[in-house]
Amino acid sequence: MIRRYLGLLAALAAVRLLARLIAVTAGVALVVAAAPVSLVAALAVAGAWTAGWPPRRLYHAALWCLPMVAVWLAATAVAARSWWQVAAAPYLAWLAMWRQAAAGSVVLAAATIAPAAIPLGLLVGALAWSRRIYAMRTGTGGLSPDAPAVFDRRQWRHQVRSARARIAAPGAVPLLSRSGAIVTGAVIRAVGHPAPPLAAIPYRRLRSHQVVIGATGTGKTTLLLRLWAGFLARGLQRHADGAGRRPLLVVLDCKGGADSRRVADRARRVLRDAGARSTAIWPDEASLSLWALPPPQLTTTLVDMIEHGTGGAAYYTDVMEAVVALAVDPPTGPPASAADFLARLDAGWLTAAYSASPDGEEAALLRSAFRHIGDIALRFRTLFRRLGEGLDGPGGFGEADAWYCILEGTSEIAVAEAQARALVDLLASYSAHGQGSQREILLAVDEFSAVARRLPIWHLYERARSLGLAVQVSAQSWQGLAPRDDDRYRIAATADGGIWLLRTPHPEPATGLAGSRPATDTSRRVLGAALWSREGSSRMRDEPVADPAIVRSLDVGQAAYIYRGGVTFVQVKRLVAAPAALAREPAPAAGPAPGPTAAHPEPPTPGGQPRAAPPPDAGSLLDEAFGKEPG
């Protein structure tokens, strides 16, 4: 009995082995018989693996071969004049290919079979590549349980390499696509989004709120410059076509310092290449007039620019507001400059201004606030001294295509807060009342939370939304978006234009907004050391659409774009601007040298103001050219 049972087992094993051998032999025979198709399929899979392509690209390639197949069949029909021969053309080509190969004409054989073998091979390769990816995604492929993870990491590397190669080709990444979308770079990988070779976002998304998060040195500025240039280029294009209003870009860089000025210079060069006629750099080279605000708004802005307390101090705030309102909106009209305004914060001036109605409400207010006027004047004098002349005009947002406003949020926080408040009020007023209603405005704020104590960023968001402004908030981290977590979520959740994530150590809150998708987990049975059975079980689970681990490990210049439950990983293409002109090298700081060099511009004083020593007398030359100096 036992012998019979063992015999049966041996017979079953032999049958199984035989069946396996037959299947393998049949498979090998098929591969050899269809050698051209097998070869193309193998090359397609190898190419897709190396470049990290999705299977869709192989399907597309196979589809693009159809015209070639059609021409080939048409030529066969014309030559043979028989539908049977057209139907049998692939088979006949296959036979001819073998005959020619046997005769040693390998090239001719390849040319004969190519019209049939290439599309079929690409199709087979696409199916095989799909199957491979599916097996790896579900955990059923590979020789070991960690093979899917290794496969994914390797594919990411291949995809990054392909994307970098794509953007390295000169002219391969235009600023705008043919449809007018803003091209940001090459797609590395897409989940829940289409995966074309180039990543492009429609212009309307830049007309919605966007959020950009990325640590220093991750390529955030490069991405922002590209988005700004794209906004202006496409906006100007639409304006020229009569399809939209003229674009206006306003950047509030709330870091300040030399770095901000370098970025400002780069932005100006990039924006000029994108079509901007002029980029104003505030406050270094351009000014705005706070006094262009309507009197009620000017009063509110002036009061909000001054630091004031709550509780008992609120009384003084009310007094200040009353006095400022009296100075801003007297019967003689609003002030035209800071000096004019400060001159009005004087009891005598105010009394004279409202002397026409000594029993009026204003006069009563004036009498109540009489003893505080001097203190209020002192506070505003201090404020304007610290603010500088950047807000004292002349100038307005309408005078340039782009404004790059530098706020010293790092070194002069109180001043920067006041400036931020004033700039936002000016922009809001320009947008609501001035010619700004005829502009499509993008307000980009970088590290705004540093200066948002007096103007909560959520308030800015709401105001911008009501005025039709698009706001692009950028920060170095999730925490940098806003001081409170509620505000952070509100900002990120209302970013209709999408969220850009560069490398950041804590991406989870933002990636969580992309949602999750169903994924399959497969377990395998361990048979022994390094041996894994093909048997196991699978279960469904949810995995994040935007993998935080990938975001955390992004390289410089890589970004994840989260939009409507999908994510596209992009290798951002840097915009190359015209080079900056170089400043003349300073003269050596040595003391005055004899001879001609002594006439070089005089050394500056320590305060930076050049000493005004009289230069050598050039009177003889000037007299010869233009005559004597008029008395």
Binding site: S287, T597, H600, P604, A612, A625
Partner: protein, 258 residues
């Protein structure tokens, strides 16, 4: 008024003498120039200058037209600017700037005619060159002078190595505005077109050793008051009257005064 474009047959490659090249570069630098001033640059009579500029026109390097009072204006076409290797946009001199352009050209001619200028081999860097260097990056509050004169270090003059800013003032601005421009020019440390952070750097020597104001009688008092308003910086401000021939001739006059 405007001579028609030359026929294609006439548009032959120009054979340019050294004098032509100097004249073309001068006209390109100054946006455009009137015939009498071109004649002064070329060192010929006006009738000869007319023939020379005609040859420029035939070569499609220049255009000419009577834009305002006085003789015709000559300016370079895109082909002319390309031949000169200058990266300027080809435009007709703006009517609103004709008087100013003529005044600046007259200042340059007067300065270049002096023995000290020729001996030193000084270089006039025109406003057009400065603006081209800046691209479109002229800040809204940034002022570009009408020209710069660079004196080589090797010159024997006392002002060797200096860079002067030239301002031609025909009309009266406010004293405050004029003083602000003076202060801006005199405190600037960076070249035009340099990064914003280098425009005014504490501790660096000023770019312009002095600023030379050439004023019309109307503008002179304002400029003088502005010089007083800038304090010690005013020691580096020279004021002179515009040279003869700097103004446009009165309407109806055929030629500008000599």
């Amino acid at each position: 008024m405007v001579p028609g474009p030359p026929s294609p047959a006439a548009a032959a490659p120009a054979h340019l003498a050294e004098r032509d090249i100097a004249g073309l570069l001068f006209v390109a630098d100054m946006y455009g120039a009137q015939l009498d001033q071109v004649a002064a640059v070329l060192g010929v009579r006006e009738s000869r200058a007319r023939a020379i500029t005609g040859s420029w026109r035939r070569a499609r390097y220049a255009q000419s037209a009577r834009l305002g009072p006085g003789g015709p204006w000559i300016w370079l076409t895109r082909a002319g600017l390309a031949a000169c290797g200058l990266p300027f946009a080809a435009t007709t001199p703006a009517l609103s700037r004709l008087a100013h352009l003529r005044a600046v050209t007259a200042v340059r001619l007067a300065l270049e005619a002096t023995s000290a200028y020729r001996a030193a081999g000084a270089f006039w860097r025109s406003e057009r060159r400065l603006r081209a260097r800046m691209g479109g990056r002229v800040g809204l509050r940034e002022h570009v002078p009408d020209g710069e004169v660079h004196w080589p270090d090797a010159a024997s003059a006392g002002w060797a190595g200096e860079c002067w800013a030239i301002e031609a003032e025909l009309t009266r601005k406010t004293v405050a505005r004029t003083a602000a421009i003076m202060r801006e020019i005199l405190t600037r440390t960076g070249d035009y077109g340099c990064p914003a952070a280098q425009v005014r750097v504490a501790g660096r020597p000023p770019r312009h050793a002095r600023v030379l104001y050439l004023c019309s009688p109307a503008a002179r008092p304002v400029v003088a008051r502005a010089r007083g308003a800038v304090g010690t910086l005013g020691a580096r401000v020279e004021i002179r009257e515009l040279p003869p021939g700097a103004g446009l001739p009165p309407a109806g006059g055929a030629e500008p005064p000599p």
